[in-house]
C-alpha cells in the first residue's frame, strides 16, 4: 500500500521532484563554488599579517558559523530590501531576486566554513616544509605555491567534498522563502495529494541518493590521491 502510493507519486509527480532536485543541486553547486573562492580569500585574510584584515575575517567566520542559516537567509531575503538593498529582476530568469537571495545566503554561509577548511588544511602542513623552502631562497608566496599548497590540497579537497554534501542537505531551508527546491516541491505535492509520509519518503530517498553518490565520488577521489603519492 505504502509503496504503491510512493510509485504513484513518482510516476505522476516525478517531474516536480526532479525539477526540485535540479534546483537544489544548482544552488548547492553555485554556493560551494562561490563559497570556495570567497572562502579562500577569507582564509588568506584570516592568516594575514595585517591585523585589521585578520580581525575582519575572524569576525565574519565566527558570526556566520555561530548563527543559524535560516536567520541569515531571512535577513538577506526580507531584511536587506527593507534597507533598500535588493536583487534586480531579470526577465528571462523567473523569480530571480528570490533565487539570488537563496544562493547568496548559502554562499556567504558556506564561505565561512570553507575558510576554516582551507586554513586548517594549510596549517596542517608541517611548518618545516615552509622553512626548508625559505632556506633555499624561495620567496614566501612561491614557497606557498609550489610546496605548501600542493600538500594542503590533499587535506582540503576531501573536506570540501564533505562541505558540498552538507550544503545539499542544508539548502532545504531555502524552501521557506519560496525557492522551488526539492523540499519546496515535496511540500507542494504533499499539499496536493495529502500523502504526507510518502512524499517525505520520496524526498528523503532523493536527498540520500544524491549525497551518497557524491560521498562515494569523494572517497574514490581521495583514494586516487593517496595512491598517486606513492
Amino acid at each position: 500500500m505504502f509503496f504503491e502510493t510512493v510509485w504513484k507519486l513518482i510516476t505522476r509527480y516525478g517531474h516536480f521532484f526532479t525539477e526540485g532536485l535540479r534546483n537544489t543541486l544548482i544552488i548547492a553547486v553555485v554556493a560551494v563554488v562561490a563559497g570556495t573562492f570567497l572562502g579562500a580569500l577569507m582564509a588568506l585574510m584570516r592568516m594575514s599579517k595585517v591585523t585589521p584584515l585578520r580581525w575582519l575575517a575572524t569576525a565574519y567566520i565566527e558570526f556566520f558559523r555561530g548563527t543559524p542559516l535560516m536567520v541569515q537567509l531571512m535577513f538577506i531575503f526580507y531584511g536587506l530590501p527593507m534597507i533598500g538593498v535588493s536583487f534586480p529582476e531579470i526577465s528571462f530568469i523567473p523569480d530571480f531576486p528570490r533565487f539570488m537571495a537563496g544562493i547568496v545566503a548559502m554562499s556567504l554561509n558556506s564561505c565561512a566554513y570553507v575558510a576554516e577548511v582551507i586554513r586548517s588544511g594549510i596549517q596542517a602542513v608541517d611548518p618545516g616544509q615552509m622553512e626548508a623552502a625559505r632556506s633555499l631562497g624561495f620567496r614566501k608566496g612561491e614557497a606557498m605555491r609550489i610546496v605548501v599548497l600542493p600538500q594542503a590540497i590533499r587535506n582540503i579537497l576531501p573536506a570540501l567534498g564533505n562541505e558540498f554534501v552538507t550544503v545539499i542537505k542544508e539548502s532545504s531551508v531555502v524552501s521557506v522563502i519560496g525557492i522551488a527546491d526539492l523540499m519546496y516541491r515535496t511540500n507542494g505535492v504533499k499539499a496536493k495529494t495529502y500523502n504526507t509520509l510518502e512524499c517525505l519518503f520520496v524526498a528523503a530517498i532523493l536527498y540520500f541518493i544524491t549525497t551518497f553518490f557524491f560521498s562515494k565520488l569523494i572517497s574514490f577521489a581521495e583514494r586516487r590521491m593517496a595512491h598517486e603519492r606513492k
Binding site: D126, G128, Q129, E131, A132, A133, R134, S135, L136, G137, F138, R139, E142, I146, V147, P150, Q151, R229, K230
Partner: protein, 245 residues
C-alpha cells in the same frame, strides 16, 4: 681569519617574550672553516643557527654575510639565503616532490637554471651520496638517513658559500648516523664552510677545526676543537663533557 671572513655576528640577542635565548653573542666564521656548536639543550644552539639565515629574526644585533648586513630591512634576505644552505633535524624534504624535483626545484625556479642541466648536476651530486637509484622516489619511501643525505645534496645544488646544519643526526636511528656523518665529513674535506649544531662529540672533535660551547645564551668557550676537548676551561663545559663523553 680576518682576510677571508665570511660570516660575522655582532652583539646578537634573541628574546622570546621575557626569555632571553641568546645574549649579546659576537663571533665570526672564516671561509672553509668547519665549526661545531655544542652545548646543553635549551642553551640556544639551534636559535643561534636559525638566526644566521634569519629563519629566526634576531631581536637586536647584526649579522654580516659577505660584508652585507642581512638584518638590515633593505637587504633582500632571499638572495642571501640562496648562498646559505641549511640542513634540518627533521630533513624537511618536500613531500609533494620526488627526490629529483626536490633537488632541482630551487636552482630551476630561483636561479633559472636549464632543467636538463640541473638534472645533470643533481645526478653528479647524488652519486656522491650513493643514492642515484632513488631519484624517482618520494620522501615517504626513504629512510631517515637517506632523507638527510638527500637534504644535504639538495642544499648543495645551490652552490652555497656556507652550510648550516641544525642537529642533522638527532632524529636518526643510531645505525643511520654514520652514513650522514660520512657525507658531512666528505663535504668538509672539499673545503665547504660548515657550521654544525650537533650532539656528535666525535664529529666535533675530529672533523671540525673549531668548537663553540654555547650555554645559557652566551658563548662560554670558543677554541680549536682539540684544545677545547683536551683542555676545557669553563666549569660548565667540563661538567657537560663529563656527561656526554
Amino acid at each position: 681569519m680576518s682576510g677571508n671572513e665570511l660570516l660575522r655576528v655582532e652583539h646578537l640577542t634573541k628574546t622570546f617574550g621575557k626569555l632571553t635565548v641568546l645574549n649579546d653573542i659576537s663571533t665570526s666564521f672564516a671561509a672553509h672553516e668547519v665549526v661545531s656548536v655544542i652545548g646543553p639543550s635549551g642553551g640556544g644552539k639551534s636559535t643561534f643557527l636559525r638566526c644566521l639565515n634569519l629563519l629566526e629574526q634576531p631581536s637586536s644585533g647584526h649579522i654580516l654575510f659577505d660584508g652585507v648586513d642581512i638584518c638590515d630591512k633593505k637587504t633582500d634576505i632571499n638572495l642571501h639565503r640562496q648562498k646559505m644552505g641549511m640542513v634540518f633535524q627533521q630533513f624537511n624534504l618536500f613531500n609533494n616532490m620526488n627526490v629529483l624535483k626536490n633537488m632541482i626545484a630551487a636552482p630551476v625556479k630561483i636561479l633559472h637554471m636549464d632543467p636538463e642541466q640541473a638534472k645533470e648536476k643533481a645526478l653528479g651530486l647524488i652519486r656522491r651520496v650513493g643514492l642515484e637509484d632513488k631519484l624517482e622516489s618520494y620522501p615517504s619511501q626513504l629512510s631517515g638517513g637517506q632523507k638527510q643525505r638527500i637534504a644535504i645534496v639538495r642544499a648543495l645544488m645551490m652552490d652555497p658559500e656556507v652550510m648550516l646544519f641544525d642537529e642533522p643526526t638527532s632524529a636518526l636511528d643510531p645505525e643511520m648516523i654514520g652514513e650522514v656523518l660520512e657525507v658531512m665529513k666528505n663535504l668538509a674535506q672539499t673545503g665547504m664552510t660548515m657550521i654544525v649544531v650537533t650532539h656528535e662529540m666525535r664529529f666535533a672533535r675530529e672533523v671540525s677545526s673549531r668548537t663553540i660551547f654555547l650555554d645559557g645564551g652566551v658563548i662560554a668557550e670558543d677554541k680549536p676543537s682539540h684544545e677545547l676537548f683536551d683542555r676545557p676551561q669553563n666549569p660548565r663545559l667540563i661538567s657537560f663533557l663529563q656527561k656526554v663523553l
